[in-house]
């Protein structure tokens, strides 16, 4: 049965677009603080959109509450600024109802790990084709500086003047534990790398989760410096790439090997180890993904960046379409008159 929506969608796109990133900048001021990490995500996103080759009316950005929640206002696409923690279910309903759309969810560590935590784990397991960008600044910023579920133990904030007492979530491990099919991590100091991660998330069919380290200049400045600044990040992070050896360091002089189930760092320029001894990243290997994710808070191991896992699984909304199609194939299109009648009716 054809609906008005089908008719709307059948209307051909008028004109030929040669979109540039400018076409995705709406006529509003960006109101994030100067130097905010979120701005460093906005521009790669605006630059990526023209490359996707889809009309901009097919793109929707959905958000919850927090500094990240303002993101949709700064993208000249369709956008929905939801309520705290609920960006994911809003986006899920939209994508299930409208599989033709490219749906992006922008969220934060408070929005996604705390108030929206339940929606996050279920979105991961359900595998609706959404691209989730989680801005992690390890603090609540819009409410002006309280600790968040990714704040580290001992962190001093306005609501933890004597230090945070609980351990943080490791977002990528949480996503993997909840069966997310695409899990990645990036940061705000390398826009090209970030743009590439966004592209891979878009290309992956199913829920894609990217944790993005975004510096909050006001309430948690420098939280990620070690992992994001150009002069220190090479020695403290490892950027994993599918099919490539797991090496890091300024001169790629360190590699990861497995000692039983434990990853260890080895030097590649001295003690007889060579590139051949080093593990090769396989983004389809779900066990390896966990091992890499669990390196996150290790003192000895580099912090993993890049695409930790990227596996294929049928997306939820596609299965909904398939169920409907199969049901109609088997039983024929529904006849409303007979539905109303039911199986037990009588005539007067």
């Amino acid at each position: 049965m054809k609906t008005i929506i089908d008719q709307i969608l059948e209307k051909p796109h008028v004109g030929e677009d040669h979109l540039t990133s400018k076409d995705f900048k709406p006529d509003v001021d960006v109101r994030w603080c100067a130097g905010c990490g979120a701005i460093s995500v906005l521009s790669p996103a605006q630059r990526l959109m023209p490359d996707l080759g889809i009309p901009k009316e097919k793109i929707v950005f959905v958000s919850g509450i927090g500094c990240s929640g303002r993101f949709p206002y700064y993208m000249d696409t369709y956008g929905f600024h939801g309520i705290h923690g609920r960006g994911l279910p809003i986006a899920s309903g939209l994508k299930i109802a409208r599989p033709d759309l490219s749906v992006w969810v922008v969220t934060g560590d408070g929005d996604n790990m705390s108030i929206g935590g339940n929606h996050f784990i279920h979105a991961c397991r359900r595998n609706v084709d959404l691209n989730i960008l989680m801005f992690n600044n390890e603090v609540y910023s819009l409410t002006k500086g309280q600790y968040s579920p990714t704040s580290h133990r001992g962190q001093i904030t306005k609501s933890s003047p004597l230090g945070v007492l609980d351990d943080p979530f490791n977002p990528v491990a949480l996503a993997l534990g909840a069966s997310a099919t695409f899990v990645a991590r990036g940061h705000d100091k390398d826009r090209q790398q970030l743009q590439n991660l966004l592209l891979q998330a878009y290309q992956h069919k199913g829920t894609s989760f990217i944790e993005i380290y975004t510096n909050c200049r006001i309430f948690n400045d420098g939280a990620f410096d070690q992992y994001t600044n150009a002069d220190t990040r090479d020695d403290h992070t490892i950027f994993v790439e599918h099919g490539k050896p797991l090496v890091f360091g300024k001169t790629k002089n360190k590699g990861l090997i497995m000692d039983g189930f434990t990853p260890r760092v080895v030097a590649l320029d001295g003690d007889g180890r060579s590139l051949n001894d080093v593990m090769v990243h396989n983004q389809n290997d779900t066990t390896l993904a966990f091992i890499l994710a669990n390196m996150t808070y290790s003192e000895e191991l580099p912090r993993p960046m890049g695409v930790l896992q990227n596996i294929d699984k049928s997306s939820y909304e596609q299965q909904v379409e398939d169920q409907i199609e199969n049901e109609i194939k088997e039983k024929g299109e529904g006849n409303l008159e007979s539905l109303l009648q039911g199986s037990n009716y009588w005539e007067v």
């Binding site: 008005i4 956008g79 109802a97 299109e333 409303l336 109303l340 037990n344």
Partner: protein, 628 residues
Amino acid sequence: MNKVIEHLEEVTVRFAGDSGDGMQLIGTQFSDTSGFAGNEVNTFPDYPSEIRAPEGTLYGVSAFQVHFGTKNIHTPGDFVDVLVAMNAASLKVNLPHVREQGLLIINSDGFDDRNLKLTGYTQNPLEDGSLAKYNVFPVDLNKELKKAFIELDVPSKLVQKTRNIFALGITYWLFNRPLEPTVSWINKKFKGKEDIILANVHALQGGWNFAEKNPDFRKQYIIDRSQLESGKYRSITGNQAVALGLVVAATKAHLPLFLGSYPITPATDILHAISGYKKYGVKHLQAEDEIAGIASAIGAAFGGSLAVTTTSGPGLSLKSEAIGLAIMTELPLIIVNVMRAGPSTGLPTKTEQSDLMQAMYGRHGEAPLPVLAAASSADCFDMTLEAARIALKYMTPVMLLSDGYIGQASEPWRIPSIGQLPEIAPHFADDSTTFKPYLRNPETLSRLWAIPGMQGMEHRIGGLEKEDGSGVVSHDPMNHQKMVEIRQRKIDGIANDIPDLEVFGEHEGDLLLLSWGSTYGAAKTAVEHLKAKGHNLSFAHLRYLNPFPKNLGELLHKFDRVVIPELNLGQLKSLIQAKYLKPVIGINKVQGKPFKAVELEEKLSMLISMRDIKKWPASSKIDLPVDL
């Protein structure tokens, strides 16, 4: 043997047994067959929240009541004329509902020492004379079933499972009902399982034969056919009617239907039904919680679906913030609240009308939305269509109130012809050159619906206050005042688009009975009884609670006294008094059960006899004794 035949106008039968005894099933069959036989029918399932409570216990008793007759059957019946009790516990729990001289068809096999002990009977009531004021028909179902199946090779375990069907056969004999509808149902239900079909059909016939041959069963009762409008009928519960109404509304609006929901008693049947409608192109998401249920529906509404969320009280509480979002974003959404007794978890399987205030005001900020309430099971269909019409025309969430009683109770429904139902027109934007998300239709104040995929109308909406017209985020004080008032006026204006309140009886006078929601049946019956006795009173029933019908205020002031019966402590009463400054007398019941017509009749008689007291203070309330 000569059997006597007696004609009756109406009868109430109650089937009661353990949760696992299949009482809901035979009650439904009895009700469908009564409808099939041309009677008016009204039913009420009464079951515990435990799924399979320990056998034989008082709290495990499940019952199903069927009220049927030739005319004016608007309630499940005040008093039980025939009780079918499968064991001691079900007798004890249900005996208080049975009128004197009522028939008790009792499974004597369910009265062994264990049963009696669990029930707290010190003596067997079948033997101690305590049932003398009733007509008792003890039947040893175990023994009689064995006899009935003696010539058939059916495993005894299967035979035992047909006890309820055998009991149903006895009641069919009692009311001279055709077996055919149930036989045909058995054949459909157990298609391919020949042994089960054989056992059940044989048990049904066996029950009939048993009564026919038994000298104790001397009298059969005939209830004449009703004068019903011609057409096709089926039995329908409120929850089924909502589900069907949603599919029909989507079809009439030419929109895809999306349901985002989370299981909760007593609303879950709607989710069950909708999830089975895949071949109608319907999509649903059983979400991870109540909030995700409504949030997904809001997302689907943004994408152009007729979006729905279904719930009951506790779920409604959780959805409050998201309802505010739907109000702020001015998206069409249907929220179905099948009310149950609260607060908190309350009595999950029992009915109440105590969410009215929450429906009206249960959100932060000034957050008005239309509130509708279905009057009966079948009316749930019509009011669902109304909810969809208003939601789409006015771009607003609409709250549809039903409750545990009409949600699960059934009555015959005249099946409408789809072609004759009115079309519903959503208001889509179509001109990208002039489009702004918050430009409004000057008449309805509704904004246009532009959905992703529409070229050139890309826009952002959300929970932040927006500038009128452009929809750009705005913190301007005057703009906020303007937008708050526009949202209110939009909802108030719907009063011009709903029917005036209809009055049964004189349009002015001493006493107006004003009911809302599921109290319709009991109120109407009470009024009919009082009028038959020569009393003069008027009756009106509200299905639109926000906004109220335009003529309501004027009408109220034409009566000396206005009485509102409701299953809460006076929520509609407060709304009416606040808005129209008219003192109202409340009749209030919060026992998890619907009103009995007789309860209202008695209270109204009392008020009629107190005619001289014209001035009633606003706090007046007629208390219902707990045990009437």
